[in-house]
Each structure stands twice: as structure tokens, then as C-alpha cells.
């Protein structure tokens, strides 16, 4: 039988390293935000002939658009981030690109004003915060008959924060290297990951609750560990099946839903890790009052 809880500090260490990488990435690369959050225009344009990203970048620069972000979303298909374009500018831009790169198809064009961008950002942040609080309260209520119900809620939230941070870090790296952006689909993905990760965590907690009431005299740590082992195959199987679906989305649809699928991919993996190796271990740490050991280690 695996002793996961016994090795908990190793798992914390791994998580800590991953989080550190994410924080470093966030501070160096920052986050590229999509138009919904920072206003401007974005154009998804596909070319019939082969076009290199660098050529496109140079051409746009020659037109005066120097700070553009270009993301590859398919074969000869690019997501181009520009400042807000008036109708005239857009027509001129398309005309120029057509004359340089021949036939193009503008698959999507979005133009967002500052006002709308500010609104969207604010509301998205509120949504994530409310989701976290709502979940915390629900779990505390569901586990109200346990000693320390809020512990369960809080550990779930910490796991959730871990997952969000990992996803943000991943997108920060992808943003720095390939120009990937945080847009509304990212927020949807994060909220889906939150729902999913908490789902996983709750299943483990549920088993802990059941075992605690069954085996009253056993040490907390032992109970948590055996609960974890008992639910392990279920957690892994569910993650595997969900990942199959996400991979199918990523591989067979791609382009417009690409970012969304990657958030889910990263989030589900991180979520499974946090539900199995972080949340229950934190419960034990808390219950045993071992917070000090973090510092000494």
C-alpha cells in the first residue's frame, strides 16, 4: 500500500518547484491578455498560400503595426492582435495583406473598446472569486458534521489555487514563446478546471469522512492515507477518461478551441495532482499542526 501521506513533504516539494517556475514565468513573461480584457482588435486570418509567421510580422510592422502579437492557430492560419481598427484601417490592412500574401480569409474579427474590456475583466475576476467562495462554503456545509469543516473547504481552495496558478504559469510561458493569450475562453476553461478539480478533491474527502466515522480510533494520518489509496484508481480513471475527450478536442478541432483545450489539459493534470497529493496532505498537516515543519525543512 502506498504511503502517500507519509511522503507528503516530497509531494509538496514537487508542487512547490512547479509553482516557483510558474511565478518566475509570470514575473518575467507576464501574461498576454486577449482583447476582451485589454481592448483592441484581434483578427484570425488564414492564407491560401504558405505564409511564415515572421513574414507576416514584418509586413505588419511595415504598415505601422509594430507591437502585434501573432499566434499560430493552424496551417497558414494566424491569430493577429492589433490595436483597435476602424473600418477604414481594417479594409486597408486586408487590402495590403492580400496584395502581399495573395488570397486570405478573415475567419474572425473582434474589436473591443476599453470600456467593455474593463467591464469584462472586472466581472471575470468577480466570477472566479465568487466561485472560490461558493465552493468553500458548500464544502464546509457538506462536511459540517466533521470536526473542523472549514479545514476541508480551505484545503480544497488551496488545491484549486495551485491548479489556477499552474495554468496561468503555463500560459505565461506559452505567451512568451508563442504569443498565446489569456482570453475569455481561458477564463471559461479555468472555471471548468476549478469545478473539476474540486469535484475530485471532494470525492477523496468524502471517503475520508466515511472512513473517519467508521474507524474512530485510528490515527488521522492513517485514515487519510488509506482513503486516498482507496479512491486512487477512481480518481485516475476519471481523469484519464476526461483527458481522452480533451485530447480529442485538441487534436481534431484545434484552432479556435485550442487555447481552451490546453487550459483543460494542464488544469486537469494539475487538478488530479492537487486532489491526490496536496489537498489530503494539507488536511493532515493542518490537523497535526505541522505548519512549522515547512519552515524547518
Amino acid at each position: 500500500m502506498f504511503n502517500i501521506i507519509g511522503k507528503r513533504f516530497w509531494f509538496f516539494l514537487i508542487a512547490g518547484v512547479v509553482i516557483l517556475v510558474c511565478i518566475v514565468s509570470l514575473t518575467t513573461f507576464g501574461l498576454k491578455t486577449g482583447v476582451e480584457f485589454s481592448s483592441g482588435s484581434v483578427m484570425t486570418v488564414g492564407f491560401e498560400q504558405h505564409v511564415d509567421r515572421d513574414d507576416l510580422e514584418n509586413e505588419l510592422a511595415s504598415l505601422g503595426y509594430s507591437n502585434v502579437i501573432i499566434q499560430h492557430v493552424g496551417e497558414d492560419e494566424f491569430l493577429v492582435r492589433l490595436p483597435r481598427l476602424s473600418s477604414k484601417d481594417k479594409t486597408a490592412l486586408e487590402a495590403d495583406l492580400t496584395s502581399t500574401f495573395k488570397t486570405l480569409n478573415v475567419r474572425e474579427f473582434d474589436d473591443v473598446s476599453e470600456m467593455v474590456a474593463a467591464e469584462t475583466t472586472r466581472n471575470a475576476a468577480i466570477a472566479v472569486a465568487v466561485a472560490a467562495i461558493g465552493i468553500l462554503l458548500y464544502i464546509a456545509w457538506a462536511f459540517r458534521r466533521m470536526p473542523n469543516p472549514f479545514h476541508y473547504g480551505t484545503c480544497a481552495i488551496v488545491a484549486l489555487l495551485h491548479d489556477t496558478l499552474v495554468a496561468l504559469g503555463a500560459f505565461s510561458i506559452l505567451g512568451g514563446l508563442f504569443g498565446w493569450e489569456i482570453d475569455l475562453k481561458f477564463v471559461i476553461g479555468i472555471l471548468a478546471v476549478i469545478g473539476y478539480s474540486v469535484n475530485n478533491t471532494v470525492v477523496v474527502f468524502d471517503r475520508i469522512r466515511e472512513n473517519l466515522t467508521k474507524y474512530l480510533k485510528t490515527d488521522f494520518e492513517v485514515v487519510v492515507n488509506s482513503s486516498l489509496v482507496e479512491t486512487m484508481s477512481r480518481s485516475l480513471n476519471t481523469s484519464v477518461t476526461t483527458l481522452f475527450m480533451v485530447l480529442a478536442l485538441l487534436l481534431f478541432v484545434g484552432s479556435a478551441i485550442q487555447n481552451f483545450a490546453v487550459v483543460l489539459l494542464v488544469g486537469i493534470i494539475a487538478g488530479t495532482y492537487s486532489s491526490l497529493f496536496i489537498a489530503p496532505s494539507l488536511l493532515v498537516v493542518w490537523q497535526k499542526g505541522e505548519w512549522g515543519r515547512f519552515i524547518r525543512r
Partner: protein
């Protein structure tokens, strides 16, 4: 209990058949009227949010002004031939215009929200900045000072009775009449221009209004025009369009685009096909996996999964006002993965019960009962997220994908709970007391000790 289970099984079969009838054929179906309504990101189209500048209007009159804007936009959208346009007032000063499945030029898009349709212009003198430039020269708006204010002469001052007519040679003419303010402006401007018989040109946005011969319409002003006038040289099409727009097309307040999403219809349709493919491949992979791992139980769960998929698609078709978006498809695909979860929870429980030596029947019941709290709590948290996402969608401009995802995920979660608890259990119970019941390893992975 066995008899009740058979009844349940029959009910499950009936629901499945009904759902299948709703879903196929994909575009019609017996109970569903048409196909599922597709969102903008799947069928292409335009979604624009305008902000109205109500600064010149009294607060009490705002509602009226917005209704006026809505009416004008409806008229302007009509000739574009869109099947299900949506024009809605949002809040106190915003209007949403949604034109699904349509691909209009940028020019037509711009025309939707222009306040003034036609502007009159005169040639610029030496150093003045030109607003328009064409083969006849540089032009600026023709203005005059009325009541101490300089105003441009535009079609804003036409009365709403412009009409198409013919002169005595049968040539097409556009007859218009000035309102009071327009008359004053016209009098000032035309009397000034008539002195040297200068040209007065007419501009439609950034271009000059051009006649049938392609040349800009810029007649010399012979005499002062006060009440009414005539524009000649246009094609019948142009004249008809213009008269209609001029009569019904004046926006009461200026509008600014604050959000614009334009998606090409040609390429949006690929997504539905691709998503279906992705969904099918994903489901097959999932089914192979759970049959491999959970044997016969896994096979039954796969059947339940098919039931789940068909049921959810039927709900999509029947749910009033449901719009399928790409994000919604993503939500549906995701929920398939999660639908398996409930089944897995139950099977894991069953595995433990069977390992402890219970009979199949008892293991099934105990498995379902014990797994329920975990299923409930996990899915409730997902539903909380869906509700919050739905709120988020309703509070922001780009609402469709967010709400689409929230709704599909919520429907998926509820359906998956029902499917696992009713369908899988019913199917499993069919085997209780039957010939295979004692071969427990068929129902459970025999990894680990028996």
C-alpha cells in the same frame, strides 16, 4: 424489486427511442422543429454592441430615443436579408445587433450606425483641409451659420418624404424636401454657391455619390434652393435604396461601436463537423478504456454513455432558445468525460463490496448507495461553477460562449447523474439472479486480491 426494475428498463428504452427520434435526422427530427440553433462562432455572423451618445437628450427621453434607434437599425438591417436578426436594447444606452449567418462588407457594417446618410460638400479653397478627395477635386462639408452655430448640410434635414420620380425625359430623379432648419442652411449655402455657379457634391460616407456613369454627382448650383430639390443621374437601384434609407434611416443619436465580433460563415461550419468527429473519437476511446478496465460493467456503462449522449443532444434540441456555440460543444465534450465519473465511482464501490464477498445484487445496491454522497457533492460544486459562469456571461458583452458553455455543462452534469443512477443501475440489475451473476469478475476489475 426485479419487476420494478424491468419496468424501469422499459421506461429507459422508451426515453432512449424518443430521444433518438428527436436527434435524428440531424437537421429536423420529429419532435424538434429545426436543427439546433447555432451560435455565431459556428454559423458565422456579426455581433455588434453600440453605445449611444445620449448627452444631448433629456434623461426622461432616453427610452424613446433608444426605441427610435432600435427601429432605425431594424430598417437598416432588413435589406441585408438576414434570417434571424437580433436587435436588442441593453441597459439604458446600449444596443446589440446580432446578424447570424451573414457576411456583409465592412462598408455595410459601417453604414448601419451612421447618423447622417448623405452629406453635401463644396470644393475646398487653397489651404483648407479636405474631407473627401476624388477626380473632381478636394471637398469639404458644405456648411453655413444658422442661429449662431455652424452646421453642415446633410440628409438629416430632409423631410421623410423623399421619393423616386422621373423628369419629362423619363430620367430617374430623387425628390427631396428640406425641413425648416434644412431650408435655412440650404438657402445660405446655395445662394453662396450660385454666385459663381460652384459645384455642390453629395457624399455617402467616404465616397461621393456616383451616378450611373460612375462619375460623382456634383451639379453646378444655378439658383438658390430653399424648400425642395432634385438629385438626378442615379441608377434606379441607388435611388430606391436612398429614398428608403433617407425616409426611415435617420438615427436620432450618434452611436459608437464598443464591441464587434465578426465571424466568417464559410469557415464556422467546419467546427460542427470537427467537434462531432472529436466527440465520437473521444467517446470511443473512453468506451474502450472502461470496458477494458471494468469488463462487463464497463460495457454497460458504455451503453449508458450512449444513452447519455443522445439524451443530452435531444435536450439541446428541445430546450427553448438554446444556442449551440463552440464553447458549448467544448462543454458537452468535457461533460462526457465527467459523465463516466459517476459510473466509475459506483464501480469502484462495487469492486470493494464484491471483494468483501457480497453477492452481485447486494454489491450493486451497496455500491450505488455508498457512492451517492460523493457523486452529489462533486457534481454540486460543478453546478455552482456553472451558475457563476452563467451570471458572468449575462453581465458581460461577449456573453454567448460563456453562457453556452455554462448551460451545456450544467445540462451535461445533471444528465450524467441521472444516467449513472438510473440507466447504469437498471442495466446492472438485469443481471441479478441471472446466469452470470456469480461470475463476479465479469463485473469488476480483478486487479488486486479477490
Amino acid at each position: 424489486m426485479i419487476r420494478r426494475n424491468t419496468l424501469l428498463f422499459i421506461i429507459v428504452l422508451i426515453i432512449f427511442t424518443l430521444a433518438t427520434l428527436v436527434v435524428l435526422p440531424v437537421d429536423e427530427g420529429i419532435l424538434g422543429k429545426r436543427g439546433v440553433r447555432l451560435g455565431l462562432d459556428l454559423q458565422g455572423g456579426i455581433h455588434i454592441v453600440y453605445q449611444a451618445d445620449l448627452s444631448t437628450i433629456e434623461p426622461g427621453e432616453w427610452d424613446n430615443a433608444m426605441e427610435g434607434v432600435k427601429a432605425v437599425l431594424e430598417n437598416r438591417v432588413n435589406p441585408l436579408g438576414v434570417t434571424e436578426p437580433v436587435i436588442q436594447i441593453q441597459g439604458s444606452d446600449r444596443i446589440i445587433v446580432e446578424l447570424p449567418g451573414v457576411d456583409i462588407t465592412d462598408k455595410e457594417k459601417e453604414r448601419l450606425a451612421r447618423v447622417d446618410i448623405l452629406e453635401f460638400g463644396e470644393l475646398t479653397t487653397e489651404n483648407e483641409t479636405a474631407r473627401w478627395e476624388n477626380e473632381l477635386g478636394k471637398w469639404k462639408p458644405a456648411t453655413a451659420i444658422v442661429n449662431g452655430e455652424e452646421k453642415g448640410l446633410t440628409s438629416r434635414y430632409f423631410k421623410t418624404n423623399t421619393q423616386v420620380g422621373r423628369d419629362n425625359l423619363g430620367r430617374i430623379e430623387l425628390h427631396f424636401e428640406w425641413d425648416e432648419e434644412g431650408s435655412q442652411l440650404s438657402k445660405e449655402i446655395t445662394s453662396r454657391l450660385a454666385v459663381n455657379k460652384d459645384h455642390l457634391a453629395i457624399f455617402d460616407g467616404d465616397d461621393a455619390l456616383r451616378g450611373e456613369d460612375g462619375r460623382p454627382i456634383a451639379p453646378r448650383v444655378e439658383s438658390t434652393i430653399v424648400d425642395r430639390g432634385v438629385i438626378t443621374g442615379l441608377t434606379l437601384n441607388d435611388v430606391t435604396r436612398l429614398s428608403r434609407q433617407l425616409n426611415f434611416g435617420r438615427l436620432p443619436v450618434p452611436m459608437e461601436i464598443i464591441y464587434d465580433q465578426t465571424i466568417s460563415p464559410i469557415l464556422g461550419s467546419d467546427f460542427v463537423g470537427m467537434s462531432v468527429k472529436a466527440g465520437l473519437i473521444g467517446i470511443i476511446m473512453v468506451m474502450v478504456f472502461i470496458v477494458f478496465y471494468y469488463h462487463l460493467s464497463g460495457f454497460l456503462a458504455s451503453l449508458a454513455l450512449i444513452f447519455y449522449g443522445v439524451l443530452v443532444l435531444a435536450v439541446f434540441k428541445l430546450w427553448p432558445g438554446f444556442t449551440l456555440t463552440l464553447a458549448g460543444l467544448g462543454g458537452f465534450v468535457l461533460s462526457i468525460g465527467m459523465a463516466v465519473d459517476a459510473n466509475v465511482l459506483i464501480f469502484e464501490r462495487m469492486k470493494e463490496e464484491l471483494r468483501e464477498g457480497r453477492t452481485l445484487g447486494a454489491a450493486i445496491e451497496a455500491g450505488f448507495n455508498r457512492a451517492w454522497t460523493a457523486i452529489r457533492d462533486g457534481n454540486v460544486t460543478t453546478l455552482i461553477v456553472c451558475i457563476i459562469l452563467f451570471w458572468l456571461g449575462s453581465s458581460i458583452v461577449a456573453s454567448a460562449p460563456v453562457q453556452g458553455f455554462a448551460l451545456t455543462l450544467a445540462i451535461g452534469v445533471v444528465a450524467s447523474m441521472l444516467t449513472a443512477i438510473v440507466v447504469t443501475r437498471t442495466l446492472l440489475r438485469l443481471f441479478v439472479g441471472g446466469p452470470l451473476a456469480h461470475r463476479t469478475q465479469l463485473f469488476s476489475p480483478h486487479l488486486g486480491r479477490k
